[in-house]
């Protein structure tokens, strides 16, 4: 009861990047075509608009004077407890210590987005690279030689700086990702793919590091992510480094490892819309996909 074999999808992954034609946009059908035919009557639009007026008035009433009624309690509390966090930048203190759990889940959101994108893989990517090599283009090569090491150094510096100044893992990760994207589109680095185990390990490393540290301190301090006395600074720095690399890999992945939706994969056109959700026929060889289909 295996799925039908699918030779078409095998060649598709590499095809776009090797043939040099890049993306065939004609094949990428818009997912939700909107020609206005599904819009309701105009009166409905007006009714919704009229409903929104009291909502807006309510909001305006509520917000009136809200700006100067700022409750200073939490900022005061942060200032009071900042020395115990191991860092001197209040933002990092909140992100990695006071509300570290939220940050952990935010990185998990990134992982979820990446896995969701991977799961949409129908065997062909939208992202295509033109043929050729960077070293054949002197200007590109020179820019890369300047930009990439600078971005890398700055990212390391930002990670380090995060404990005392406005900076940190997310900024550093974004910068590293920029360098990664640059290297990929310049064809110096092969695009990372979901299939590569190192990519998965590094991308998962941010969340994994957080959870492992959180559980490891549990027996000593009695609470998840409660850093033991004197350990806060090194642990936060280590987590920031793991996060920066993980964020970078995830962002590069989201940029270059994007599948097309719905895929221009001809085997999917044979999927019975009322049949098995995974396109499996009753007998595995009842409707063999046509490998020669364009």
């Amino acid at each position: 009861m295996s799925g039908p074999t699918d030779p078409q999808a095998n060649n598709a992954t590499g095809a776009a990047s090797e043939t040099g034609t890049g993306v065939d946009h004609a094949h990428v059908r818009p997912l939700l075509e909107d020609d206005g035919s599904r819009d309701g009557p105009a009166i409905l639009t007006w009714m919704v608009g009229l409903l929104l007026v009291p909502a807006g008035v309510l909001l305006a009433l509520g917000l009136r004077g809200a700006a100067d009624s700022r409750d200073p309690r939490i900022p005061d509390l942060i200032a009071e407890h900042l020395p115990e966090t191991g860092v001197s930048n209040p933002v990092t203190g909140v992100l990695l210590n006071f509300r570290g759990y939220d940050t952990l889940l935010e990185v998990a959101v990134l992982v979820a987005a990446m896995v969701a994108v991977w799961s949409l893989d129908r065997g062909q990517r939208v992202f295509g690279l033109p043929a050729g090599r960077a070293r054949d283009e002197p200007v590109l090569a020179a820019v890369l030689r300047l930009a990439v090491p600078t971005a890398f150094l700055t990212a390391v510096y930002l990670t380090w700086l995060g404990s005392s100044e406005p900076a940190g893992a997310f900024q550093a990760g974004a910068l590293l990702a920029g360098a990664g994207v640059l290297l990929t589109v310049a064809r110096v680095m092969r695009p990372p793919t979901a299939a590569a185990l190192p990519v998965r390990i590094i991308a998962a490393g941010g969340v994994a590091g957080f959870v492992v540290v959180g559980i490891a301190v549990l027996p000593f301090t009695g609470a998840f992510l409660a850093y033991p006395e004197g350990w806060a600074y090194p642990l936060i720095l280590g987590l920031e480094a793991a996060l920066a690399v993980a964020v970078a890999v995830i962002l590069v992945e989201l940029f270059v490892d994007v599948p097309s939706i719905p895929a221009p994969d001809s085997t999917l056109d044979t999927v019975d819309p009322t049949g098995d959700p995974l396109g499996r026929a009753l007998a595995p060889d009842a409707t063999p996909p046509d490998p020669g289909a364009p």
């Binding site: 700022r70 949409l120 609470a223 719905p262 819309p273």
Partner: protein, 507 residues
């Protein structure tokens, strides 16, 4: 470290770590991930059940700080009940998924849609599981929002594991609805924080939010969460998404995922806002009533098996909102007058309503898995295509029937006990409208369950083509259905846990 810290850690971070293990993409990492996630979730929820029964609601100060500076995990009876039913359903569906997606050793082919789905089902579901457990244990508004984002992303991706074009579009629409819902929630959170200067649910409850800002933020958050819960009239995304997804994903989405945003709605309306206003409660109940009628009638009109069950979810979710006005029975007579709701909460409506949520989770998961077995056997989803399948798959047929029995509210199912408690409350409060709705909804449920069963028994129209269904898939469906059908016998323990904290745990 006490039990509370240990079990809450297991419930949230066990499945999260398991998701990362499952990302390895090898057959053994998928199995190890599902085993680790199921084990930690079950251990965490059972451990918390014991702790909360023994000493009432418990908390875990993450990072050792405590609110308002830090974030707390917080478990009362409601949290524990939801955690437990999610763990039971999740473990059963995880087991089911090991067979549904086919031979895992063929993963490396990676090219077939089934292989790809097998590779990503486990990590997505485990991320979703961690987010759900995070929601049930959350006591912080922003933390709820972040958990919701993981929930929404992973849930939409579970739908698009199916390769049919319809499912892809349905999944995309689900994602958009889900994101809009989260944004509305975040806007409400921002307003509340501006006004009250805290994100802690407990502190907000103590501040007793009132006034235009509080009302506006409750309205925003309610619309957002109602869209995610598919409360009528924001339900249109649900049937194509839940019907189009692969069977294990359908079971999870219908049984446990929509309960996450329902949980948030209950927490906000009662624990934080103290019931808000009687008029608001009546409005929610009215939408629930409309959902019951509309969903049931549409379920009867469907021609495809999984769409019948998906519309049934729309209808059954309506019952959970009928609980809203019945919780404050003294407001029923006021007929929509606004003002603070009565502080006298009805224990009958509370235990009955939440018991319905729990039994719906068990029954709906069983029914979607049974339906998955039937469609798996014939590789088609139309009602006429499953003709005669009852003779080939008696266990799945029985599972579907038992699940339907619980949905319709026949004794001794938990559905019966839940509906009976709601009815008793409605009768004693003189809310005859609600009595009528609950009764009519039950009859309509019987009608669409029988409609499916009639097709499954129809041997004459059977085509005879049939694919054998792995026994594990049949057992998983049947065990959950049996749990749903007999939970009513052991309802007392559930009542005891639900009254730990009760409707307004922070008052």
């Amino acid at each position: 470290m006490t039990g509370a810290e240990l079990w809450t850690t297991a419930a949230v971070f066990g499945p999260l770590l398991a998701a990362l293990v499952a990302l390895g993409g090898r057959p053994w990492t998928l199995k190890a991930g599902l085993a680790l996630g199921s084990g930690t979730a079950l251990a965490g929820s059972l451990g918390l059940w014991v702790e909360v029964t023994r000493q009432g609601p418990v908390r875990h100060l993450l990072g050792g700080w405590g609110a308002p500076l830090g974030i707390e995990l917080w478990a009362d009876g409601f949290s524990v009940a939801m955690l437990t039913v999610t763990a039971v359903v999740g473990a059963a569906v995880s087991l089911y998924s090991l067979s549904y997606f086919g031979d895992l050793s063929e993963l490396d082919a990676g090219a077939s849609p089934a292989g790809r789905a097998a590779r990503y089902f486990a990590p997505l579901w485990l991320l979703l599981w961690a987010a759900l457990n995070g929601i049930y244990l959350s006591a912080d508004l922003f933390n709820l929002y972040v958990s919701l984002e993981i929930l929404g992303l992973a849930a939409a991706a579970l739908v698009t594991l199916a390769v049919t074009p319809k499912a892809t579009v349905a999944g995309m629409r689900y994602l958009i609805v889900s994101l809009v819902g989260s944004m509305l929630f975040l806007l409400g959170v921002a307003l509340l924080y501006t006004e009250f200067g805290t994100l802690s649910l407990e502190e907000l409850a103590a501040a007793a939010p009132a006034g235009p800002m509080a009302a506006a933020s409750l309205a925003l958050m309610t619309v957002g969460m109602a869209a995610k819960t598919a409360l009528f009239p924001l339900h249109a995304w649900l049937p194509p998404a839940h019907a189009g997804a692969p069977a294990p994903a359908s079971a999870l989405l219908s049984a446990v995922v929509v309960k996450g945003s329902f949980f948030i709605l209950v927490r906000l309306w009662f624990a934080v806002y103290g019931g808000a206003s009687d008029g608001g409660l009546l409005l929610m109940g009215g939408l629930g009533a409309a959902a019951i009628l509309w969903g049931s009638v549409l379920a009867l009109r469907q021609r495809s098996l999984k769409r019948v069950i998906a519309y049934s979810t729309v209808a059954q979710l309506g019952y959970l909102f009928i609980m809203f006005p019945l919780l404050a029975p003294e407001g029923l007579g006021a007929g929509g007058a606004s003002g603070p709701a009565s502080p006298e909460w009805s224990d009958d409506a509370w235990t009955g309503g939440i018991l319905l949520a729990l039994s719906h989770a068990l029954a709906k998961a069983a029914m979607f898995m049974a339906a998955g077995n039937m469609t798996y056997a014939v590789a088609r989803d139309a009602l006429r295509d499953i003709s005669g399948v009852a003779h080939r798959l008696p266990m799945s047929f029985l599972a579907f029937g038992l699940g339907g029995l619980s949905l319709a509210g026949l004794p001794p199912s938990a559905g019966f006990v839940g509906k009976w408690l709601l009815l008793r409350e409605a009768i004693s409060a003189g809310g005859w409208f609600w009595v009528a709705i609950i009764t009519i909804g039950g009859l309509l449920t019987i009608a669409y369950v029988l409609m499916v069963l009639r097709h499954a028994l129809d041997l004459k129209a059977s085509s005879g083509d049939f694919r054998p269904v792995p026994k594990r898939m049949e057992w998983a469906a049947l065990l959950l259905a049996l749990a749903a059908a007999t939970l009513g016998v052991r309802a007392t323990e559930t009542f005891q846990i639900l009254l730990q904290g009760g409707v307004t745990p922070w008052s």
